[in-house]
Structure formats: structure tokens, C-alpha cells
Symmetry: C2
Subunit: 408 residues, 2 copies
């Protein structure tokens, strides 16, 4: 029996660790012969673009490097699988590829859409009595998947955010003049990552003084009041905002603020919420103000990855192989938190039908009454996920990444 | 005899290391009694706001933490000292503060403007037969100071840039679709830091495929031709641009491209060159495009500081005390490179009159003929400066910073 594994959706620091976990456990099992990697997610299955992983992961050092290399070594895709009734040919193509290569288990590492794919495929195989299991392995820095305590990739993103925001606090505090620094943090629909900047409280930082999440409707009037009040109390006000802030009408705040903005060549401007709020603070308050977008570094800064996150991401890969060999299908592997201190979690299978096409929002009970910060329960939740550092292999003063020559 | 030390200009990862070096060597010398820190640069001298450093640096661990904490623990200023003839009162105030506190040597850690201050002050003291020496210690991530091989703080900034750009390369390479990623790197007048991204070549990266510096006049037509050609050769094109790109007329490109841009509330938009070029690529080429501003993290990401840089920055602080006790004044301490491989440098005093109000540009001979990349000589120059990592003390999964409670 052979197996296949693919990676999908936006990159993270941990998605290769889960791949390494699948590879490691599958290599140990006698039941499994070949371990195929599918290039560019499910598209590699559809187009029969597979690679035998043992031809690219040849040594223990390869495996270690892969575990610590950000992004997806097998490439990724943003492919939404149609319903079987709507496009039966796609399902036939997928089935053919699996049959042709004697693949009986398919592991799909990804987010929301990938779990939808796992759900649809496993249902199709089961209804058509085709002996192929499909298992989902979660990943997203957004931490917004249902039925799991947290998602692989999130802890490393949170550790990068905390580390960078702390450095930004130092940077912003050097002059006598009052200032506002707005840090824009990823999270289109849920505010988990922006909220995670609260961990700095554990190291006696006052900042971020304000944290705004998409879960609370954003009001520009209240924002300006908050900022003015904080400027009365602190010399350098630092604010964490989620990129996905929404107005009371549900529209993205960034879009509402800049509709119609054009540059001198007529190009439409589309900047993030941080830049919008920077402009508004400059205009309405007039103090020194700067906005900082942490951008894709949040999802790829493996040089400061969380050991807890990378270890768990590797383990969820291993566990998914163990569970698969027990015969499950249509499930996503999930983390269940056993305790905060000491932190302990285990891995359990959950129904992908309960995960697909849903978003786990940051809990309202963890947001303060003013909607401009989070509480101690949030801190207890986040802290264990950013613990520990890894020994990054360095060469010429830079981290070494696992690369496949002439591939992409 | 007492001494005083102050920090000035924009923060870096290494400016506290130089302070720690001054403190360490001065503590060893019997000639020196008290070591004062001046709060907010020269402004602390003018306003008599001094602190005895031994009251805040109490233990070896304090000293180690200080060495690795980014930004300026004593605060900073952006103060341009007027000529003595234009404002004699300021010079009297400064002299009074030094006299009152028995300070005979003043160390000023800073950039261009600070060396101007060192130059003016030392001339004033010498002309007025006042027995106070003034010594400059360089720092700037821009690496644009004359008479020194490189500047403290630059190596750490370059190491952060290389590490982040490599992670961005991984991140940008996952999808099948062609894409352009533009990374905006600090450097208003000189392109050293953007150019330093070429070090990735030493680790077998092709990217950045294009590097644009302020030293070469920027042409939008040639830029678009370069990008189109690179899109023919590579799936994911990564471009490093210096924030200070200038047009042929000497105007900043970013300003020229967006004059008149306003958002829907009438706020003026002022984004960086990266965002401008992103908009232009989207409009003129139409491919997937993203811009990333590395922003202040370049100058404060001490968690990935260069050991070479931090060690040298500490050493230049120590050496400045040694040279001061030999009687020099009006000098800036500078690095002289002895050899590239193995890398070796020493510290020598140079005239601040040759440093002040000047900018050391990136050498034209190190830029390729097309003006869109740098050559192997640049690589040899940069590589030694980013070598080595430090043991960052972590607590709760985050780096520990040296902080003075209730100070700022």
C-alpha cells in the first residue's frame, strides 16, 4: 500500500513539520510502501504530479532541515473542490491517480478549504465503495479552525508577533515626544493572532496598550477617544490591530476608509487598516504616528519558531498516520488541551464536516467590555503555545532552508 | 574625574552594546570615578538630566541584557547643535553641566548629526581652553558614515534583512502562478542595507533577482522591463528596493509617484516606494504582486542580531575609553578592516570634521552595469558583518529586554 500527502493554502512555519511527521511515521510502518508527495496540493493529484518523498528526503539532516523550513516544500494551491454532482470528471481524475499509484490513504495538510476537500472526497469514496481514506491535518496561522484547541503554525506566528512587537515597543520609546505606533497583524476573519500580542504582559510590558479585533465592530470615534486617553497615560502608545477589522455594518474597515483613493497616475490605492488608522491619527490627533505591517513574516519567520508549535505539528503528522492505519477517513486530526500549567495536549480525530467552511472566532468572553483589549484568560490560553526555541542550522550567518533544486 | 555618555539618533540593535562597552572599560579604570548617562542624548546635558550608570547596571546579568537589548536605553534625541556664535548660551549650559558634575570626557554614540555635535563641542572646548574631551562612537543601520569600514548596528540590520528576505523567498514560491514580491528596505540616502540582501547568494539563493539603490537614478520604464524579463525566467520574482530610490532629477521616487494621492476622507496618502511599485506592477504588468516593508524591525530585531556586530559595537565602546584616556578629542572611533577571510578589524580614531554632514554612498563599482543588482565585491564586503549568533535570554517564550522601571 502507498500513501500520498499534499500541502495547501497559505504558508506557515509548521506545515513542513507536519509533512516531516507524516513521512517519519509512514517510513516506520511496514504496511506502507511508497510515500508520495503531491505537487501544489490537490492539483498534483488531479494532474498526476507526484514525487516519491524518499527521493528528496534522503538523510536525517534533510528531515531536520525540512522540519524547520517555512512555507510548503511541495508547493500549495488555492483550489476549491466542486461538489461531485457538479463536476464528476474531477473526482474520476483524482480516483484514477490514486488507483494508478496504488494510493490508499491521502493526507491533506491545510486550512478550511482543505478540510472541505477532505470531507467531500471521503464522502465520494465511501458512497462509491472506493477503498481510499482521506485524512485532514490542520494548519493556519489564523488559528480559526473549529474543533481543535489551536492550529499548527499559529504558535510560531504568535511567537514572532510577540518578539517583534516587544522590539517595536523598545524602538518607539526613545524620543521625548508623544507617539502612536500601530502594528497591523494578520487575521482576516478572526483576531487570534492580534490578540496573542497580549502575551507581552507576562514579561511586564504595558504595551500593546490597545488591541482591536474583528470580533468587535470598529468605531473610529471610540478608537480616537481610546488613543487620546492612552496618550495621556503613556509617552509611546503601541496598538495592535487585526487586518480584518470590521465596521458595525460588517464591511472591512480598511476598505471603507479608502474607497476611491487613487495615486497621481490613477492607480487605485489599497493599503491595510494600519496605514488607514495612521492617516486618521495624524489628521485627527496630529501627534507623531507610524504604522507597521508585520506582513508575511508572521507566517514564515521560522528563525524564531515556537518549539512547542513545531514539535506538535510534527506529532500531529505522525498521529495522523497512526489513526489512518486504524481505518478512519473523513476526519481532521485535532489538538485537545489537557492542561495549561504544565501544558499538555493530545491528538484526536474530529469530523471534517464540522470544520469545513466555518470560522472559529476569538471568544467574546476574553475581550474586555470596552472592546479594546483582551483579558487574563486569553493570556493563559496563548502562553503555552509560544514556548521553546529550536536549534536553527546556520550557514554564512543565515538559516539554512531545505530546498529541492530546479523544482519550482 | 567623571565621564558622561549619551545615545542619539535612530535606534539600532547595537547602540546599547556600545554603551555597555564604555561602561565596562570605564569601570575598570582607576582614573574614572563616576560614569554618567545623559537622558535623551545631548538634551540630557543641556537640561542636566543625568543618571549614574552604576545605579541601573548593577549586575553582570544587567550588563549582558543591556548589550542585547535593542534601541537606546538612555533615550535619544534629534537635536542639531547650532554654531557656537549663533547660540553661545547652549554651549554655556553644556559646559556648566559638565563642570558641575566634574565630567572631563563626553562620549556621544550616534550618527552623522552626533558627529557634527562632537566636532563643534570639541572645537569650542579647545578654543575656550576648557578641559573637556569629546569622543564620537558611530552607530547607524544605514552604514553611511565616512572614514569607517562599516558602522555598529549595520551588521545586525543586514542579518535581519537576509534572514527575512530568505523566508519571504520561501513564502512567495508556493503557488503555480507567476508573482512579484517587492521588499522595501531602509536607507534614505545610501543603499547599503538593500544591497546587503545580496548575501543570500552565498547560500545558493537566486533571489533577490533585482536590487535597486538610491545610488542609481531610478527609471520606471527600465524597472518594468527588468521585471518582465525576470518573470520570463523565474516563477516568483523577488525584488529588493531601497526606500530612498531617486529619479533622474534627484527627487525621491516615492514622492514623485504619489503626489496628490488622497483617501476618501481627504487624508493625504504617503506610502513608501514598495507600495508605489506594487501599484505600478499591478497596473502595468497585471501579475500577482505584493510589497513588504521591513520597517523598524530592521533596526530593532535584536533576537537575530549579528554576533560580529554586537561584539564589535561593545569593543568600539571599550576602545573609545582607552583612546580617551590617552587624551584625544574631537575624534570618532572607526573600524578599519584588516582582512575579509578570516575577517579581522581594528579600531582607530578619525577626525569628526571628515565625518560630520557627509554621506558615504554605496560604491558605484559594486553596482552592475544595468544598475539593477550588485556584484561579488559587495558580497565579500557584507558577509563577515552578519556572522555569528548570540545567546538571547528567553522568558515565557520571549526575549528578555533590559528595562529601567518607571523611567520613560
Amino acid at each position: 500500500m502507498n500513501i500520498a500527502v499534499a500541502q495547501s493554502g497559505g504558508p506557515t512555519c509548521a506545515i513542513n513539520a507536519s509533512l516531516a511527521g507524516v513521512f517519519t511515521e509512514a517510513s516506520r510502518r511496514e504496511e506502507i510502501d511508497k510515500i508520495y508527495g503531491s505537487i501544489n496540493g490537490i492539483e498534483g493529484i488531479i494532474n498526476d504530479k507526484l514525487v516519491e518523498l524518499s527521493t528528496i528526503i534522503k538523510t536525517n539532516q534533510d528531515l531536520e532541515l525540512l522540519t524547520l523550513t517555512p512555507s510548503t516544500v511541495l508547493g500549495s494551491c488555492r483550489y476549491k473542490l466542486p461538489e461531485a454532482e457538479a463536476d464528476p470528471d474531477i473526482y474520476k481524475k483524482i480516483t484514477e491517480c490514486f488507483k494508478k499509484n496504488d494510493i490508499n490513504i491521502f493526507f491533506y495538510i491545510g486550512g478550511n478549504d482543505s478540510m472541505d476537500t477532505v470531507n467531500k472526497l471521503s464522502k465520494y469514496f465511501s458512497e462509491n465503495k472506493i477503498d481510499i481514506q482521506v485524512i485532514g491535518i490542520p494548519k493556519t496561522i489564523d488559528n480559526d479552525l473549529m474543533c481543535t484547541d489551536h492550529t499548527p503554525g499559529f504558535g510560531s506566528a504568535a511567537k514572532y508577533v510577540a518578539t517583534s512587537v516587544q522590539e517595536i515597543i523598545r524602538d518607539s520609546s526613545v524620543y521625548c515626544v508623544k507617539s502612536v505606533t500601530i502594528v497591523e497583524i494578520m487575521g482576516r476573519d478572526a483576531g487570534w493572532l492580534a490578540a496573542s500580542s497580549c502575551v507581552l504582559k507576562a514579561n511586564d510590558e504595558n504595551a500593546p496598550h490597545l488591541i482591536y479585533l474583528p470580533e468587535t465592530p470598529f468605531s473610529i470615534e471610540r478608537f480616537l477617544e481610546d488613543v487620546k486617553r492612552m496618550l495621556g497615560e503613556h509617552k509611546a502608545v503601541v496598538i495592535a490591530v487585526s487586518e480584518g477589522l470590521k465596521m458595525i455594518d460588517g464591511e472591512y474597515a480598511a476598505e471603507e476608509f479608502q474607497s476611491g483613493a487613487n495615486d497621481s497616475f490613477g492607480h487605485k490605492y489599497l493599503s491595510g487598516i494600519g496605514k488607514c488608522l495612521e492617516n486618521i491619527v495624524r489628521q485627527e490627533i496630529g501627534c507623531k504616528v507610524r504604522s507597521i505591517e508585520l506582513n508575511v513574516m508572521q507566517r514564515c519567520a521560522s528563525h524564531i519558531a515556537s518549539k512547542t508549535d513545531i514539535d506538535e505539528s510534527f506529532r500531529i503528522g505522525e498521529e495522523s498516520v497512526k489513526y489512518a492505519l486504524k481505518g478512519i477517513s473523513g476526519k481532521m486530526m485535532a489538538f485537545r488541551r489537557i492542561s495549561d500549567r504544565p501544558y499538555f495536549s493530545d491528538v484526536v480525530p474530529v469530523d471534517t464536516s464540522q470544520v469545513a467552511n466555518q470560522t472559529k472566532l476569538f471568544p467574546k468572553e476574553w475581550i474586555n467590555n470596552q472592546g479594546n483589549n483582551v483579558n487574563a484568560q486569553a493570556l493563559d490560553y496563548f502562553l503555552p503555545l509560544i514556548q521553546g526555541e529550536l536549534n536553527v542550522l546556520m550557514k554564512n550567518g543565515m538559516p539554512v532552508h531545505f530546498k529541492i533544486p530546479n523544482w519550482f
